[in-house]
Amino acid sequence: MTIPAWLRNWFQQKNWCMHAYQEKMFDFFSAGQSVLLIAPTGGGKTLASFLPALVDIHDNQFKGLHTIYISPLKALTYDIQRNLLNPIKEMDLKVSVETRTGDTSSYRRQRQRQKPPNILLTTPESLMLLLSYTNSATFFSTIKMIIVDELHSIAPTKRGDLLSLALAQLTAFSPKAQRNGLSATVAEPEKLAQWLSSPKQPVKVLQVKPTLKPIISLLTTSELPYSGFMAKYAVNEIYKIIIQNKMTIVFVNTRAQVEFLFRQLWLVNDAGLPIAIYHGSLSKEQRLKTENLIVAGEIKAIVTTSALELGIDWGNVDAVIQVGAPHGISRLLQRIGRSNHQFDQSSLASLVPANCFDALECQAAIYAIDKGAIDGEDFHAGSLDVVVQFIINYACGQSIEPDELFNVIRSAYPYRLLTKEIYLKLLQFAINGGYTLQHYDQYHRLLPDEKNTYKIASAQVIRRHRQNIGTIIEAARLRVKIMNKRKDKIVGDIEEAFAQQLTPGDTFLFAGEVLQFIRIHDMHLEAKKTKAKDSKLPSYNGGTMPLSTYLAEEVRHLINTPSLWKNLPEKIRDWLHLQQKFSLLPSENAILIEQFPYKKTCYLVIYSFEGRRANYTLGMLVSRRMEELNLKPISFTATDYSLAISALRHVDENTIQSLFTQDVMDMELEKWLLQSPLLKRTFRQVAIISGLTERQIAGKRKTMKQVTFSTDLIYDVLMRYEPEHILLAITRHDVTKVLLDIERLKIMIQRFQGKIIIKELTRPSPFSVPVLTTFKTERVVGDAQEELLSYAEIEAQAKGMIDEVRKIV
């Protein structure tokens, strides 16, 4: 296909020149070659992927569905629609574009099924739903191109598993349809391309090198504290950056930080700049309102979490600030990429560490990005509960011929190694539950017919399935309702677990305001606005991202390479030197464990660098074992880098060595798993995804508590009567995936077997100060003034501990 003159003219009119890779997309399209396009955000890659489709549809007056675009975010489909409709209008093209998401009206859906648009923009779940209709084979038979956006973010997840199966079915309907992927820079593009490919559609990688590296600076003042997460000290500096730029995005890691920082910024916002807040817990209306303000350029700065990480093109952002540790290089790059969507200019970003270790991590990330390094992705084998959902979905649209369906499933990359034996078990579960001790035959979901094929049993099964499509299972949430004399207002939702710890009269920060808790009623948390400054913080739930293994290595490397310290702030260098003299710097090929007396107990501090959740688990397992050895452990605290355990007894060197062995880990883990609610919680997810039980049903809404309870009951009964059932097998398998951190711990223990260095000290080392004071900084509550005082007090204490060390060395 040659690029038509009208398209070149349009580019000229816009004063754009067509990038080489944009032209290449036409060659690939002509050759019917699938391609994974890897380019930094803002390079016009989305447009590039659509251009051949626009030309093909317009020039050939194509009738029917030509291109399906799949995005992980609903909002992104609307954004893309806007971005396509403009050029279509300007060039006067005969191309129809429509979105299809959970928000699409039933009238529109009906019409779309009868008269599909040329280009359909949708999400994995809505695509699945479309595939469940009986006319889906005809509906999709005409497609020539499939585009998957943000492929890097969706491929390694359960949603990705679902999508891979949907793609397999699309290819079965239209074998020649190209599969194009769009992705930000990834460590292993070939792997991602393989994920997207099918036996019939190999995928080539087209990598557009980022022309310019981002310019990242580490923002520090001498006030950088030893511990803490809120970066309170830097509010004035952050405000300065906001003033200096047209539009700034401030990324933080948890929702608690969003609320905290937003409020602190408004306290210093003397100029009354329009600073907004945005996170996933806000209501749809609120988010939409904010999004529109951003697009209109009416906002000076926005404080947000990962909710604004993906996709949407906010053209006018010129600065990005990351507050707190970045945790991963890919994530940081993604965030930085939100600024400056111009191909030929560097993105600008500032990193604001919240404590000393954060500063090390920020600096390590800056070095890594400079080297062009990036985190590796973790591609797992496809989840089996998703297969069950797919089988039922498939059966809703057409009858199942078992071997044929097996081939479709195996053509999806995550399921290429699925065995026939497992497949048949999953199919059997889809048919009648597959319970060996059960002989009822009136409760089948699928019914066999003479030809050894299976049909869906009833319209009820179809309805029930369609309401339950998807793999995202959210923690139970309550809607937050602000009560007002005139009109009540829903402002967002909040974790049920957090809500339950509130008592009437308690205050908390939400949507940037201090709210007073009234009561929980009908799945709503009722609250009223208050002028009080006193508030509790929203919970930390869902906000702790694991530290990437690669970045952890980089931090170790930075610590061990003094020549790299020159870009670190003075205070951090001093801190590193003190640690070096007084104790040891944790080396790259051994684990450092310090033991010292502190506050009348013995402290063990383990520098694992494996992330907070992994350290937390390690703390739990090790203190259990210490209990058995009568070492009288009292408590433990975990940070991303280290774990501190306090005990009444001093632990001798051999015992310490024996605590951190593979055997202990395995044994304690086994015991702990049996007692923990983790298996049951995982079973609940498996049960919902595989269709064993329903998620919340419109109209007869159960509370999540009830759902939890009933799947727990089923779990108990099934364990007693049929412990080998396929769903229990899936649960046991999934638990190990949930516990990725535990895998990391195991690898770490293996790696450092016999390489544990134990250092006996007379007092806390400089490196131990952050973890020792973490406990307190996490629990600071009170009004703004009190918060300041508390932080000051903790910091003074930390400084005192460091000064004591200074006296000695």
């Binding site: 009648n432 539950g433 319970y435 059960q438 002989h439 009822y440 979901r445 108990d716 009964v717």
Partner: protein, 213 residues
Amino acid sequence: MFANHRLIFDGNACIYWPTKEMVIVADLHLEKGSYLAEKGNPIPLYDTIDTLSRLEKIVDYYQPKTLVSLGDNIHDIDALNRIYPQHKLLLEKIANEVRQWVWVMGNHDKNVKPLNWASSMIFSASVNIDNILLTHDLVHESAFQIVGHYHPKTTVKNISGKCFLHNDSKIIMPSFGSYTGGFEIESTAFKKALNHELFNAFLLHNQKIWRVK
């Protein structure tokens, strides 16, 4: 002590009344599994056999003369048409091991036709024993009563489970059926249902029983 009688709360969700040689359970909800299965939930239908097996163990242990099941013994009116023949045999076996089995009717089974499976079965809306009324739901005018119906459940330090509720005049039993969920006693809805009356709670966990402060 309750109404001057010594009653034993058992961690297996039943009450044993020594002087009467009586075992009391509530809310068996037999065939709830198959009821849900009819609605399209492919859940394992092992709840009836599990419920009855546990009941059998209790009866074997206490060897009571009288077994009282306090209503909602079956989940719905159709349950007895769905029950497995083998499971029904177990039900009859239990019935034959006691001198009488009083089937109190609850809201789920009030219209069930008394089937004479075993001669020991007595169907009744309630029974009154030494001034204590045994019935499904609370009755306003009665002084002492033992009831089911509410499925109380509570949580102590992340341990969540069914519980007994008890005060000077009332005992509310935990539900016995394997697929019966519970209602959190701290929830407003639950408190409202009991007119905010105060109770002691006894949490069941791993077949043991714990007093809750």
